[in-house]
Symmetry: C2
Subunit: 148 residues, 2 copies
DNA sequence: CTAGAACCTGACGTTGACGTCAAGGGCAAG
DNA sequence: CTTGCCCTTGACGTCAACGTCAGGTTCTAG
């Protein structure tokens, strides 16, 4: 396969593929004229790389994992990287879940603008922000009175 | 509170706080001498911003959500943004889960280097990559023979 | 043999959330 | 008034994963 085929089948640009090679993530044979030739398996390889990138794993770390992908076994150091990255991803998922919950509270507020119908306002997700310094709690009697 | 206090309590740099102000995410009163003064609630505000940033929400989008945080209600456009962002985060969580599963398969391989003891090798997670073009399946008779 | 599509290397541009340095000003203590 | 810390604006630097452009080469169809 030539680089354009791999690009099309894996859904990335040819520039990206050359970048992967530059980073040592993907190697290619060359034709006598110097053009890159890939095996079919390169498509899956690229998809795996993309999967890691999508998870925020930097190319240098992916590079560290590549021997494991190729050999089917890991040195203790690679094993450390594997577990560390797994933990990082778990933490990232927790962050995402927290942000999603924040959005959910905001959506709740958007749907029910009065405290009576809005659990998010009764259990304030964050303090209202007023640079002038007046501190008013979201579920305070004042707010309740203004709505009741 | 002065900027240093907010920075310390919220765990970000003063540079970050000025950047937030530059982006319109955080406003501050000023002393006659021109120094920034924040209410206590600024700390929570900054934590919320950080939470969104950690989830990959760009500052421009956070800015769009700020009226909702302040007013406790949302225009239809803001509502669209809320739901779109929620969906993006959900997709990102799926990506993370997929990458974590890939790592798990690799960890499995690392722990059980022979196909007999390794489910991940019997159900190949990705094709082995060999730029020379020889295509060999992970669970093929060849691999099994070499291990048996 | 020739057109043109696809490929090559090299190099600079982009984006976001800051880091960092420089040169100067505000503020509370003594 | 001075010391010293914290603050100010302004501006350039960073890093990652590419995008994009330029100028030239290789491959393939006719």
């Amino acid at each position: 396969m030539r680089i354009g085929d791999v690009a099309e089948r894996s859904g990335v640009s040819t520039r990206a593929l050359r970048y992967y090679e530059e980073q040592g993530l993907l190697t290619a044979e060359r034709t006598p004229g110097g053009q890159r030739t890939y095996p079919e398996s390169a498509v899956e390889r690229v998809r795996l790389i993309q999967q890691f990138f999508a998870a925020g794993v930097p190319s240098r770390t992916v590079l560290q994992l590549m021997p494991c992908v190729e050999a089917g076994q890991a040195t203790p150091e690679v094993f450390q990287v594997l577990e560390a990255e797994r933990e990082r991803i778990t933490a990232a998922m927790a962050d995402l879940a927290a942000a999603r919950d924040a959005l959910d509270r905001m959506i709740d507020i958007a749907n029910h603008p009065t405290p009576e119908h809005c659990p998010a306002l009764r259990e304030p997700a964050w303090s209202p922000y007023d640079p002038s310094g007046a501190t008013v709690a979201a579920g305070s009697p004042v707010a309740t009175a203004s709505a009741g």
